[in-house]
Symmetry: none
Subunit: 211 residues, 4 copies
DNA sequence: AATGAATGAGTATTCATTCAT
DNA sequence: AATGAATGAATACTCATTCAT
């Protein structure tokens, strides 16, 4: 497909950092950051122990690079969905919820929030990065959606968007924790079905009557 | 003041395990399980490194004992609240939510779920313990409350209690994560106020109109 | 000889730091600071690798402690000799020269100046320590002796004591270097005889006639 | 400007070894042999790490080549001066002393003796090289000068030339050590002035009276 | 009950050296 | 001639755990 002369091997070099990050993700996911051994990361990446240090200065740098890499597309995706859904915020929220749970139900994806939760005390800058790059952008996108919904008359005018997004996102995260942390806990089967009913409750409440 | 026979020397002795667990909680909270050093736990407990091993077989045993100790009263408390609230489940849920967030907002209390989240892969039995001792009992208590509410006509008859409790608990946990993990993130000021409005949304929904 | 109850083993603890420093001296002497391995120091001291770190924080700390220990008595000894020799500075200088060469001819003693020479660029504080604790005190003692000699009419009134001590000490150090660094180089046999004639030259000059 | 045939490409090529040796000298001077990194030598020489190995087989080989290069002109120069000074050995000694201190006061030049002192135990052949190429030739030149002086009646007939050269060279080396090792130590200002007075003391002694 | 001393088994990191290109 | 990529071997330092006292 390409006419470049075959650079057979040294092309690896461009791919290496990503291969290493993949390996790190898997090791960190399985063992946690502290308990994961650089040697295992290296072996999984198919290179020597010293090879990792060609691309990352230290274990901590590896962690930070990993989180940075994984973080970037997340909020971007939600922002796109949010933008696209401004015409019908209620539907958009349902869609976003389904996608979010679908993703967070996967151990490899849940691994990043889990890492952030685990090490946020020791590496506050990682927590800060996650907050600014992921959560602040998510918050902005979702509260925007809520406000659009209010403007459109879809949502009650008296709700606080800041709190409403917790009402929406909380159960998603809760279910993701449930599935990933407490293996054996009964998960509600289908993420999409989960999202559908979840949004029903959030939109219309669980009370039998309006006050 | 006490009628106990004078216990000459080892008066402290029965307090020791708890002092050690207190110390462990603080160290684990600050550094995480792996990164915390037994020496620091010992120092914080005011005894020698070897002294810890008089009461706990290993670091892992210390962790398990800690989690067991912290776990026990939690579900019990919720069960009591749930029982007491069966007459008015909606009010009970509001009360429980407030208490839960009040507790989980405290770093020392949040430390336990955080630890469980961090090490659940490596110590599945700890995760299992947490599930059976805390979450299963919480689930039972809360779904019971939901069912009572349905029976009383407070809640819609078509809701799934299992999902409904996620709708209730999720935002609480989400806010707790927000506060404890992402320092600097804007938290909604008063936990009790949070709970009041949160339950309003959950009960009556955020949509402007019922479908 | 002592009536203390035999504390058989744990008495070692008091001796340990010195044993380790002895071992370090030997390893550093043989291999140089960088090339010496902590493991070898430990083995030579008869303890485990980790044992060394019970007494010294790092390899660098070990080096500094070693130099500090070895340094202390040196200048003190010279000061005593200088004080004692003020009545007859010329004789005192001869005696001090003999002792100095006798000592510096021993590899274990020469090892310290050699270490200082080797690492002075990288650890300027060690060089500074050596200067203030050894050389400044030596300088003070020896220039004092020179001045006494001038006052007594033993030495020419027009000499600069600061330079004169180099005339005295230089050849001693030179011979020590010769012996310790350039194995196989012809050393002048007896240190005491060396000192005797060396001082003759220094006192009376090598010229056939006074100017 | 040169009549050499155009050497298309590798014009630099024959300068490379010397550039590398210059770089090595600087790195070894700053960090010591063990602590200096080949990578830094390479970078300072403006080539890649692997490039160094095109010209030198190993770090040790680099050290040896460096010492060999630096050593060669030294003794030669002294031999020339000695030869030239045979007519008036006393004056020649003064001149040589001044030049020697002038050179040894320069860190880049002192670096070589310092390296030899540092690693003589581990690389005895380097020490041997230094001895045969530098010191033995110096000794021969200087003792020759002394003997000439005796023959001319400039110097006392009863002095041992072997020892007399230590009396001459020792203070020079001592002052060089002082300046290079113990930064901050008071050095006697002008090397030439130092040499002038130093030789005065050596020739005529510091004693007030001849015995 | 309590601990100071000791250690075995790691573990991150470094660096001289090699080699395919 | 030159190098970017890679690594094997090493090494300082750590820490949970043990044990004699």
């Amino acid at each position: 497909m390409s006419t470049e002369p075959a650079r057979r091997w040294s092309r690896r070099s461009d791919a290496r950092p990503d291969e290493i990050l993949d390996a790190a993700l898997e090791e960190f996911e399985a063992a946690g950051f502290d308990s994961a051994r650089m040697e295992d990361v290296a072996r999984r990446a198919g290179i020597s122990k010293a090879g990792v240090y060609l691309y990352f200065d230290s274990k901590e740098a590896l962690l930070k690079a990993l989180i940075r890499r994984e973080i970037t597309p997340v909020a971007a995706r939600v922002e796109v969905l949010a933008k696209a859904g401004e015409a019908d915020p209620a539907v958009a929220l349902k869609r976003i919820s389904g996608v979010a749970l679908l993703l967070l139900a996967q151990p490899r994806i849940f691994a990043i929030p889990r890492l952030v939760i685990s090490i946020s005390q020791r590496f506050p800058d990682i927590a800060a990065l996650y907050r600014t790059e992921v959560l602040d952008r998510l918050r902005a996108a979702l509260t925007g959606l809520i406000r659009s919904g209010i403007a459109l008359g879809q949502f009650r005018a008296d709700i606080d968007p800041e709190l409403a997004i917790r009402t929406i996102a909380g159960p998603i995260m809760f279910e993701a924790l449930w599935r990933n942390v407490l293996s054996g806990a009964p998960a509600i089967a289908d993420p999409v079905e989960f999202a559908r009913r979840h949004i029903d409750y959030v939109l219309h409440g669980i009370a039998a009557l309006r006050p």
